[in-house]
């Protein structure tokens, strides 16, 4: 059968099945969002996106109740929270998995109880629930590709490329690093890795140290926390080189103002809103792939202009990837930052 809204709800790959773990039902619905750790900017904006989305009139009409909780980094607490909402008869429970392997039993129980589970961002590989995914490997690969293209265009054929990795012990991180390095395989560029832990401060320190130890890099990319790396380059008076960045307002702005090239690409925090939309659509009987692949919002350096790629009046920590245009789901900055 033809999927609903294929531009937005694209299947992950050819083998992706249609979602079957849901029975269509009458609205309005009760939806819960179970977040893990709360103390980081991306997560805060993610929660705000979900909250503003359910306040939009067309969605508000369909949602009877929306609850969001943050349970911290404890997988047992997250399991319990999801189970509680299942027990309380919620129609859908959305979550970013603290541990992507931990939820098989929970998913079975939810399906028996008739609750649809939706995992996003850090997803669970289980066929019996809805996955709203972004290809994190692709994000890293696009950063690498942008650097490689720029280098080709400027006739640089060798040198060191710095890759600032994320938090190790995480499946997504592994995927990112592998994809990044794959792009440079067979070229005469050498990839130097340091661990930035997806954290601005750590990224800055390790980038500064790498520059001190290795001298100049021909290109730099950071998995998340690019502001730190860019700041380190600026502080070290490193020349502007092709840069693979995340979409943080401050990062794009610094890159643009200092003449860097490359790409800003990332998983938008608004993915929570897409997850809500997907859940609602499936309740309404629409055909959905079981694992949705969202295109990561990205902007090449040619578009790095104030008001388009960054907003000088907004905080540096604001994620400029405010939505997914393929899903007609774009937020204005006001919606996400209003008091």
């Amino acid at each position: 059968a033809e999927s609903y809204f294929p531009e937005c709800f694209a299947p992950w790959d050819a083998d992706t099945k249609q979602l079957s773990a849901v029975t269509p039902r009458e609205g309005p619905y009760r939806i819960a969002l179970v977040n893990g750790f709360a103390g980081n900017d991306w997560r805060i904006q993610m929660i705000r996106a979900a909250e503003s989305y359910v306040k939009r009139p067309e969605i508000a009409a369909k949602v009877k109740e929306f609850t969001a909780v943050s349970v911290g980094n404890d997988v047992a607490a997250q399991i319990a929270a999801i189970e509680n909402y299942v027990a309380a008869g919620y129609d859908a429970v959305l979550f970013i998995a603290v541990n992507p392997e931990a939820f098989d039993a929970v998913i079975d129980r939810a399906n028996q109880a008739g609750t649809l589970l939706v995992s996003f961002d850090n997803v669970v590989f289980n066929d019996n629930h809805l996955i709203v995914d972004i290809d994190h490997g692709e994000i890293a690969a696009k950063k690498a590709q942008a650097i490689l293209d720029e280098l080709k265009a400027t006739n640089i054929t060798e040198g060191k490329v710095l890759w600032v990795r994320g938090l190790q012990g995480n499946a997504t991180e592994k995927q990112q690093t592998e994809s990044f390095k794959k792009v440079f395989e067979g070229t005469s560029f050498e990839v130097v890795e340091v661990v930035g832990n997806w954290d601005v401060g750590t990224s800055q320190r390790v980038t500064a140290e790498a520059v001190a130890a290795h001298g100049k890099f021909v290109g730099v990319a950071n998995a998340y926390g690019s502001m730190g790396s860019i700041q380190a380059l600026l502080d070290a008076k490193h020349p502007a080189v092709p840069f693979g960045s995340d979409t943080m307002n401050g990062a794009v702005r610094m890159l643009a103002e200092n003449g860097f090239t490359g790409v800003a690409i990332g998983s938008s925090p608004s993915v929570s809103a897409v997850a809500i939309l997907a859940a609602l659509s499936s309740f309404e009987g629409k055909q959905m792939p079981q694992r949705i692949k969202l295109p990561p919002p990205s902007l090449p350096s040619t578009d790095w202009k104030d008001g388009i790629a960054y907003f000088s009046q907004l905080p540096a920590s604001f994620d400029t990837a405010t939505g997914f245009k393929e899903c007609n789901l774009l937020f204005t900055a006001d919606e996400l930052t209003a008091k």
Binding site: E51, A68, V69, I79, G89, E101, A105, K174
Partner: protein
Amino acid sequence: MPVLLGAMVFVIVLAVYLAVHPRGISSFVIQSYANSAAPLALAALAQTFPVLTGGLDLSVGGMVALTNALASELVHGSPLEIASGVLIVLSVGALCGALNGALIVYGRLQPIIGTLATGAVFSGLALFIRPFPGGEVDAGFAYAMTSILFGVLPVSTLMIAIIAACTWAAISRASLGRGIFAAGSAPQAARLSGLRIERSIIAAYVLSGLFSAFAGLYLGFQTLSGDATIGAPYTINSIAAIVIGGLSLRGGAGSPLSAIFGAYALRAISAVLLFTGAPPLAQPLFEGMVLVTAVAAASIALVRDPNRLRAYQ
């Protein structure tokens, strides 16, 4: 008396939780709540023994991570493989504890910093075994361990009650156990009296390792997998739990009930938030406030004591 306070905190919080739960008391809610508190209760029990000796174990999280990673490698297959897997996991936990104990007793390291450092090593080892989440824990066994008996008695609670009671019975009937209290209460006096408290201190850390392994194992049952980063919250939360449960960090006295009540109370505190409809961004604030209030309540007896000296031991 302090245990009573811990029990009170627990009962109040639990009552509020069940009162705001849209489903009220149901067997599923009990089961889910009990299971979510189980690894924390085990970690808090682990923390109890070093604290009784007047020490502290900051490697609990590291040991939980390491044993959880190991469990996802070993605890599946034939019943024999599962049994030996469980045994190995528990032994590795005990071994980690023995290393801590040896560093503290023979290396004369201060417990806080010694275990902080070994905690890093254990987390590193966990990452070696399980560079990213995965592996397998036998589903049938796990299902049994996370289920509920007669709709009222969660297996996890029963298991914790049994191992805590057995350990406690053994401790109060062995010289080794007496030494654990003596070490926290008056080590010099105990040494003069001919009690070998060094062995007891090592034993306390071995028990800490063992109970951390139980926690790691139980997390394996809950998640059916292993994750090297799973342990991090347990170090600090285990300490918070025993304090809320009324155990004094000064050592020398206390009971495992503190750990158990404290852990279940702490879990109930976060569970309460699920249905209060509090604005999501304000929840961490609320949780912090409750924690601080509970800690203040647990130490209120000292403030009200007219003997001001009592606060200065």
